[in-house]
């Protein structure tokens, strides 16, 4: 038995460091959360209210930020004047579709890669992962040309396939690590007990199911937040939320209220999802290199 932390003794230095650490943490939290706060509050402000700023250096004037009459009109206009309903649906279908496809095919491939050895496996594996790491713009140039000739540009299936370029390798890579951690002996034991190969495979599914579920969510997150593919491949028929938000920058007026409202609409669902799969985030975001 031992305490949670390595022991520390009170010295003037450690006290000073503690104060500094608290200060740093507070400042960092302000810097990291303030944008969200501004976004949220501004989405309820009329244009001229959003333009109000105190004089430079007038720190007390910061209360101006709260001087406004809340209006919900930016949110309603997203759905009446713009078709954010459709864009949300597009985002959902594109992100969800690619996530499901990636995880289904990805888990089959990952399972096989985890259970069988063959020559060139490492190279195959590296190819898979490098697909995921390729710069989006670099991939876009030829992909666009190809999708173009297949009439996939501007369609949801096109966008789903485009998202699969980064979600599928991600799923294979990370799920392989996942299957690697399930002892093969479980399946062997099952087979010794008399089950078929497939039944044996099914027996380990409960072990990996939570992880697979989490990576579906992660794939959705990556796809949902994408902008470049959506702007180029999805342009036209498959406009997603980030693109629609960007397009609120209108020539006549930059509709900051609506942009902030759209930002809230785009970001809030992902934050909730992020909380749900919080445990798997580190693993997912580091490509499985770091586990929490």
């Amino acid at each position: 038995m031992a305490s949670r932390d390595v022991v520390s003794y009170d010295t003037p230095l450690s006290r000073a460091l503690k104060v500094l650490a608290g200060l740093f943490l507070a400042l960092y939290l302000v810097w990291t959360l303030l944008p969200f706060f501004v976004m949220f509050v501004s989405s309820f402000k009329d244009l001229l209210e959003a333009f109000k700023l105190p004089a430079v250096g007038d720190w007390a004037g910061i209360t101006v930020f709260f001087e406004f009459t809340p209006t919900f009109k930016h949110y309603t206009s997203l759905f009446t004047e713009n078709s954010f309903g459709t864009y949300i649906l597009n985002s959902l279908i594109a992100a969800g579709g690619s996530a499901v496809i990636s995880v289904i095919f990805g888990s089959l491939a990952a399972y096989s890669l985890s259970r069988v050895d063959f020559r060139g496996k490492q190279d195959l594996f590296f190819w898979i992962i490098s697909t995921r790491m390729a710069p989006v713009v670099a991939v876009m140039v030829p992909l666009y040309a190809i999708f173009r000739s297949l009439d996939l540009v501007g369609t949801l299936p096109g966008l789903i396939l485009a998202y699969t370029t980064f979600n599928l390798p991600f799923a294979i890579w990370i799920l392989k690590g996942f299957f690697d951690n399930v002892p093969f002996a479980i399946e062997e034991a099952q087979m010794v007990d008399g089950s078929t190969r497939f039944q044996a495979f099914r027996s380990i599914l409960p072990l990996v199911a939570p992880g697979i579920g989490a990576f579906v969510v992660l794939c959705i997150l990556f796809a949902w937040n994408d902008f470049l593919f959506a702007a180029i491949i999805g342009s036209g028929g498959a406009k997603t939320l980030p693109v629609a938000t960007r397009e609120l920058v209108q020539p006549q007026n930059i509709q900051w209220g609506s942009i902030m409202a759209a930002g809230v609409v785009t970001t809030a669902p992902m934050m909730l999802l992020g909380l749900v799969i919080r445990k798997y985030l580190v693993t997912g975001l580091t490509m499985g290199a770091v586990k929490e």
Binding site: I146, V192, V282
Partner: protein, 332 residues
């Protein structure tokens, strides 16, 4: 990384429970631990190999279609003066021209600057933050709060910061001005500061990634090493640099490589914030590539630029994979 961590341990533990529940486990448990591996023993595979290949095939086919095929297209295009419909062969002209193209070389130079600045700040802040958070009672809540920026679409983050940086009504602009850091012009309005502006947004959004990676690393710093060093006579600060940091290096290296590649991959926020300007102060290579390919429609030249970008990424990727695999080799 080398230790069996909770996530990876999870299936194992569940598996172990299943074992215990099974009566016939004697045979399995009799085997030394090292033999209970994840791989089938090479003799007598329980399923013909070809079935595994069948399972792999769809994923590999999709990947080939959306990655390999485009890659060859890219090479072909880079040797052509190309329209979308087709083009004429020009050999290596596209490549030769690149090296007299100041914007291309600047693009690399700016990309390097951008990446180094982003990473320097992210690693510094991220590790510091991880240490502070790690010793806090409220770690769980803090981490949740810190994760928020990462959940935001980079394009939306770009717009949000555009709003905050705005010289007329942006609150960050006001704060910077009031604090005397910025004189008059908005941070985006000067070629000298625009780079910092896009770096700051990247730092805002991705420092938490380094933090959670470092946090995971901190949890795995062997406690007895820290304590041994304390007994040996180290002060807490000394202990941090002598034991904690060396133990963090491998995870941090992974974090750095990942972020490096992401800086190559994602330009959403830069496109939204500056589009490469003012002048070409923030025209990092991927932004220039985007311009060449989708504004000037010089797909051939674009393909050539894309290939150079890909090659560097692949080299970085190789490095990353090597880091991934290293701990296992050195284990024990």
């Amino acid at each position: 990384m080398t230790d069996v961590s909770p996530i990876s341990a999870n299936p194992r533990e569940v598996a172990a429970q299943i074992f215990r529940a099974r009566a016939h486990s004697a045979e399995v448990e009799a085997r030394p631990q090292s033999e209970i591996t994840n791989k089938p023993r090479s003799f007598n595979p329980p399923m013909p190999k070809r079935y595994y290949y069948y399972l792999m095939a769809p994923a590999i086919a999709i990947l080939a279609f959306i990655s390999l095929y485009p890659f060859f297209w890219l090479i072909v295009m880079s040797l052509q003066d190309v329209d979308i419909g087709g083009g004429e062969w020009v050999g290596f002209k596209n490549y030769v021209k690149l090296f007299s193209d100041g914007r291309f070389l600047d693009g690399w130079w700016l990309l390097a600057q951008y990446s180094v600045m982003c990473l320097g700040l992210q690693v510094g802040l991220g590790v510091l933050l991880a240490v502070v958070v790690n010793s806090s009672k409220y770690e769980k809540y803090l981490v949740t709060a810190l994760l928020m920026p990462m959940m935001m679409a980079p394009a939306v983050a770009g717009l949000l910061w555009l709003f905050l940086y705005n010289g007329t009504f942006g609150w960050y602009h006001w704060i910077l001005q009031s604090a005397g850091i910025l004189d008059n012009a908005s941070i985006l309005a000067s070629a000298n500061t625009a780079m910092y502006a896009i770096v700051l947004v990247d730092v805002w959004q991705w420092t938490p990634l380094i933090t959670i990676i470092a946090l995971a690393g901190l949890k795995r710093v062997p406690r007895d090493q820290l304590e041994a060093n304390m007994v040996d006579g180290a002060s807490p600060l000394r202990n941090f640099f002598a034991i904690t940091m060396p133990n963090l290096y491998p995870v941090l290296l992974i974090a750095v490589l990942l972020r490096f590649m992401d800086n190559f991959r994602f330009i959403d926020s830069v496109l939204v914030l500056t589009g490469g300007g003012p002048g070409s102060a923030t025209k990092i290579l991927p932004v220039y590539l985007f311009e060449v390919a989708f504004k000037f429609f010089k797909l051939g030249r674009g393909a050539a630029i894309a290939l150079t970008l890909l090659i560097v990424t692949i080299i970085l990727g190789k490095l990353l994979v090597r880091v991934f695999e290293k701990p296992q080799n050195e284990k024990g």
